[in-house]
Symmetry: C2
Subunit: 141 residues, 2 copies
DNA sequence: GTCACTGCAAATAATTTGCAAAGCA
DNA sequence: TGCTTTGCAAATTATTTGCAGTGAC
């Protein structure tokens, strides 16, 4: 379980470091995401935050989520890329995905990645993919 | 490297089994994806296939990609979900993602997932996530 | 011959952006 | 006070869908 207070503290520090302002909207959005254990989308975050801050707008939620990701406080689940890309290589593999520019690099690994046993409880397993997210050398400058 | 001819053979067999027709559009789209080693998006596939089949339309490419995914011949890279979802848990973890309904389940694992050494050549690593794709029990019926 | 598939055009839905006002540092 | 951020509304962009004609089986 995530400690929400710690998260807010992180936000405070990282905003200061990045010359970004600590607005009540950012606090509420982060608080919401940190306190649920599912993976809400922007609309869900919006609906929930609206309960305690009725004046917030959906586009601020979108912008705030982007800011929080830039600060490294939240991550997208399976959706770093704007456009959907396809791969015909079905063997388990590994991708490095840049969260800035969306570049995808194949990473070749010797040892086979196996799906955890628990996976099979959820349904039929078709593919496993270890994704490593970060900022690529080009975007780091 | 993927053997394109084998892929087309698979397509033939799976179409027959699924009562789907083996159209030249499906053959060309699959041939294209199987023969490149990057991860093209729909627009790129379209541009490339248009060279050998000028009459093909972009929406057929979209529909074909969906069909190929249903047949288990191609997979989406980091984009199974229509809406972007966010997660504030930054510890390496594991998700089961249903390619039909988009449901996301956390999978709890004991052994830490480490990013392959090669990852660090591509840039600064921020997060690792093992994703297991498949069809959840609900969608299997 | 039948029914799935295609191409066209129009619709949809998520996300982004320009701008003026507001508020954190 | 100055510059980042917000809310509003309008725009953008990837993707989807209805429909009539076409072609695989």
């Amino acid at each position: 379980m995530i400690n929400v207070e710690d998260k807010i503290q992180e936000l405070k520090e990282r905003c200061a470091k990045a010359n970004m302002r600590l607005t009540p909207q950012r606090i509420e959005v982060l608080k919401m995401i940190a306190s649920v254990n599912n993976h809400p989308d922007a609309e869900t975050v919006y609906a929930e935050v609206k309960k305690v801050m009725p004046s917030i707008s959906l586009d601020t939620v979108y912008r705030t989520l982007t800011s929080l990701e830039d600060l490294g406080l939240v991550f997208k689940v399976d959706n770093e890329l704007a456009k959907t890309r396809y791969d015909a290589d079905l063997t388990p593999h590994c991708h490095f995905i840049c969260i800035k520019c969306g570049a995808v690099h194949d990473i070749h690994i010797d040892n086979y990645i196996e799906a955890p046993k628990e996976s099979y409880d959820y349904g039929k397993v078709l593919q496993t993919n270890l994704q490593v997210k970060g900022i690529c050398n080009k975007c780091r400058g």
